[in-house]
Amino acid sequence: MESFLKSGKLGSSTTKVDKSSHANNETSKKKRSVPWIEKYRPRTVSDIVEQNEAVQVLEQCIAGADLPNLLFYGPPGTGKTSTVLAAARQLFGDMYKDRILELNASDERGIQVIRDKVKTFAQLTASAVRHDGKPCPPFKIIILDEADSLTNAAQAALRRTMEKESKTTRFCLICNYVSRIIEPLTSRCTKFQFKPLDESKILERLQHIAKEESLQIDSDVLNALVKTSGGDMRRATTSLQSCSTLKGKDTTISMQDVYEITGVVPEQWIKNYLQACKSNDYSKLEVFIETFILEAYTASQILKQMNEFIVNTDEFNDKQKAIIGEKLGTVSYRLQDGGSEYIQLLDLGCAIMIEYSKT
């Protein structure tokens, strides 16, 4: 069907590609442009780096033990979804599609959906044999991705369903903040915390990808990528891919590109900001913030970097650091909540200015 739809000019070009399959690398790549995060997603549970407890439990389960209801929580990019998908693939083999219901925040997930879709899926019985006669666990898995954006009513509706269908169904809740899941649900699940990945682990993985994709990249630059990712594997991988797509295959990726793509504010701007605060001159601060916004740097990013700076600096004593830290927190919250960058940054600047004048 597909080839029929794409008849005409394209048809002739694809046949050409087939004839000289390897020579025309460019076109074949065009055919399936998979993002690297999908391409290099771990396929088996044992491929997963760190997160030992979860991996151990899942490996036992693959070996034949029973699986509890799971609750994975942790910062983004630590492999929560990858882990459960890999486990499911190993458990069910090619029946994978029938045995899994994946719901995430982009699907409609009100209480109605929990009642209808989840319940009906949960009530199906699963046999303990695969189509090809091999044994497989007699249950299905319902993955609720981004479970912290489920409404409270929907979570409440899950409670009884989870218990009643425990014979045939296992639930796997995935979320960033465990505090947003209601207590009765967390007590029904085995909780696993996913920690931010170690920098060396990310570096290893990036080196592997860079080799596979034959990129020209220095180890310094890779290190910078790892640093900016903050333990988020997905972010590191996407930044690497973005760098390579933006710069093209044949040019080397420089430090500058990494900063530009990850949106890191150059060190100089932070220095200038503090300088403006130090000068105790309000108009200087105002001018700085205006240009900062016009240069389209991200305010939330500078806050993050400022935080790092303030914590490590010797210019303030602990009490002053605490005051500035509190201000940073408020400002960052307000920014996320939709506050104007200009006023919030001014506010922070004034707070720092006051602290400077005290020293």
Partner: protein, 355 residues
């Protein structure tokens, strides 16, 4: 006869006037097979839209310039009907989801699913994906941003998103990490001067470099505003006089007058008259954040440094509340009242110190 802003908008990536290196990179990007989701951010008047159109043109050829307006209908689960205007060509669709307010999640989800499920039936078959341009994404609700996350990954095979925002602070990190961010900084003053001079040359006008400089500085590095100002000046008086008055937007002068009134006298009467002024501004559709920002920077001008810090911290508080409430006037007035209170106390203290 169109405005200069539209007439001289660059139509091709290679014709862009500034950020040349970035344009070069973008060009490389469009020639490659795998085109990622883009997040284009920068202040207004920096040329985000221009860049998006250039990218689209580079991807699909001149076909994208044949635009049509279409009205799309969506139904919420609670059976409420939504209507939203879209601008689309055969290859892309442009939509501003925040037009429908809190229902933006439904629009985002349905639209992407619809677009993604229809395969491109093009004879040339040059691209396998369509493009959805979402403007004003910093006004998307949290729900809609959550909805975007997974949808973006799932339908990457036949649709790509170009997000256009003023700042990325309001976007969740999850969205940011899924896009290739393109920072479009505002053009510098010399760059604006240069562009103004080229436009004038093409129009057959002469413009002195000092005058161009003056316009560029007045425009606050907003290229769109600079070109509009320049055209307004031309209509007013040509040939340009070096000391010609450059018309500032009237809301700016209005707010300035208001600020002067507030710092002149702090009383209930002033507050009442300021209320009228504020209503006037709101009725004329000046965005709330612009009113607030200008008001704050005008008010702080003639304050002492210690007072400034306090006022700014109050301003930050009220500005944040403004985003939550749906009646802007309350928060404006609350801030004005707070300012008067602080200012008056400061003045009284100062007077007391003297004696």
């Amino acid at each position: 006869m169109s405005l200069w802003v539209d007439k001289y908008r660059p139509k091709d990536l290679s014709k862009l006037d500034y950020h040349k290196e970035q344009a070069e990179n973008l060009k490389k990007l469009t020639h490659k097979g795998d085109f990622p989701h883009l997040l284009i951010y920068g202040p207004s008047g920096a040329g985000k839209k221009t860049r998006i159109m250039c990218i689209l043109k580079d991807l699909y050829g001149s076909g994208v310039e044949r635009l049509r307006m279409e009205q799309l209908n969506f139904t919420t689960p609670s059976k409420k009907k939504l209507e939203i205007m879209t601008v689309s060509s055969n290859y892309h669709i442009e939509i501003n989801p925040s037009d429908v307010g809190m229902y933006d999640r439904i629009v985002v989800m349905d639209l992407i699913k619809n677009v993604a499920q229809t395969q491109q039936l093009d004879v040339n078959g040059q691209r396998e994906f369509k493009i959805i341009v979402l403007t004003d994404v910093d006004n998307l609700t949290r729900d809609a941003q959550h909805a975007l996350r997974r949808t973006m990954e799932k339908y990457i095979a036949n649709c790509r998103l170009i997000l256009c925002a003023n700042s990325t602070s309001r976007l969740t990190p999850a969205i940011r990490s899924r896009c290739l961010g393109i920072r479009v900084a505002a053009p510098t003053v010399p760059e604006i001067c240069c562009i103004l001079q080229t436009i004038c040359k093409k129009e057959g006008l002469t413009i002195r470099s000092e005058f161009a400089q003056k316009i560029a500085e007045k425009s606050n590095r907003n290229l769109r505003r600079a070109i509009l100002m320049c055209e307004a000046c031309k209509v007013e008086q040509y040939p340009f006089a070096p000391n010609q008055n450059i018309a500032e937007p009237d809301w700016l002068m209005f707010i300035r007058a208001m600020a002067r009134k507030i710092s002149h006298e702090q009383s209930v009467n002033t507050l009442a008259s300021v209320r009228g002024d504020l209503y006037e501004l709101i009725i004329h559709g000046i965005p709330n954040n612009i009113i607030f920002q200008t008001m704050v920077s005008e008010l702080v001008k003639n304050c002492d440094i210690s007072l400034k810090a306090e006022i700014i911290s109050q301003a930050a508080l009220f500005e944040h509340r403004l985003q939550h409430g749906n009646k802007a006037i309350f928060h404006f007035e609350a801030f004005v009242a707070k300012f008067m209170c602080l200012y008056k106390r400061f003045l009284e203290d100062a007077v007391a110190d003297v004696f």
